[in-house]
Amino acid sequence: MGVEAKQNTQKLTVWQKAFLRDENWKKDELREAVFWLIEAFSAALGLVFGVLGLRGLPCLMAFFASAIAVPSVYCTSFLGVDEQDYGGKMEILGDSVGTGAATFVLAWVGFYTVLHG
């Protein structure tokens, strides 16, 4: 039973593992999951800010704060991963926050233009 469970775990894709707790993660897999999490979060936050018509650079500050906090909470609280085992928070985030910022600004500007421009 233990061997079967281990084999099943080994067959899981990144997408499947992303919704399961306490799985074994390789660094590249974790970075991939975090990248797509940040992308989805950035697009969603941009949509919300754009629809609500929020303005000003504090919104950008709020994005950066949450773009670092959300993956951190996801990794430690949900996935049960110790970030230090993979080289620290910045090692996992890599360049995801930069791309996320571009996604956020595009979504924010797009929806703001449609509804309030």
Binding site: K26, K27, D28, R31, E32, F35, W36, E39, F49, G50, G53, L54, R55, G56, L57, C59, L60, G87, G88, M90, E91, G94, D95, G98, T99, A102, T103, V105, L106, W108, V109, G110, Y112, T113, V114, H116, G117
Partner: protein, 184 residues
């Protein structure tokens, strides 16, 4: 909004063409594929070595193995970087051409309204090609194109996985400043 979507679509096409150029010039070559496999294998070995606690050959011997693997990885990445130089130059030229075409088609047109006041260092990008008397929150096509390029290039990279594995894209003093300070 239709102009905004048009610029985004053009940005996506431009990113796709750039990736196709990189694939044609570099990614499909045997030399690059060989280097890529070497990097993937060495990274796996390095990760295994770093996870080993105690066991045979611990301490100095293991540290030497880790350093040797890191040196091999660094050399392979450097060599792959050299191969990619040609495509990087081509892609850079293509991007300049795309930006020129965007400026040509959308000169003087406001494609979006910014929900923030851009910082002075970004005004040259957000107001590129717009008249002097345009509102401060007007957004030019160039800004949307550049942002779209950043997003789509990254996403295509992740989806297609044609290039090298990401590895550590940030320098050690950013990811592990305490190790650098401690002199590790």
């Amino acid at each position: 909004m239709s102009k905004f979507v048009s610029v985004l679509a053009f940005s996506l096409i431009a990113s796709g063409i750039s990736e196709a150029i990189s694939y044609a010039l570099v990614y499909r070559t045997d030399q690059f594929q060989h280097l890529k496999q070497k990097i993937i294998q060495n990274e796996l070995k390095l990760e295994e070595e770093k996870q080993v606690v105690g066991g045979s050959g611990s301490g100095k011997h293991r540290q030497r193995r880790i350093e040797s693997l890191e040196a091999m990885l660094s050399a392979a990445r450097s060599k792959a970087g050299g191969l990619q130089l040609r495509s990087t130059v081509m892609v850079g030229v293509m991007q300049l051409l795309f930006i020129y075409v965007v400026n040509l088609f959308f000169r003087g047109q406001i494609v979006a309204t910014l929900p923030f006041e851009p910082l002075s260092m970004f005004r040259s990008l957000t107001h590129r090609g717009l008249p002097e008397d345009s509102p401060s929150n007007a957004c030019s096509a160039t800004f949307v194109f550049v942002l779209g390029g950043l997003v789509f290039k990254s996403m295509l990279d992740r989806c297609l996985q044609l290039g090298l594995p990401k590895g550590s894209s940030l320098p050690k003093w950013v990811t592990n400043p305490e190790d650098v300070i401690a002199g590790k």
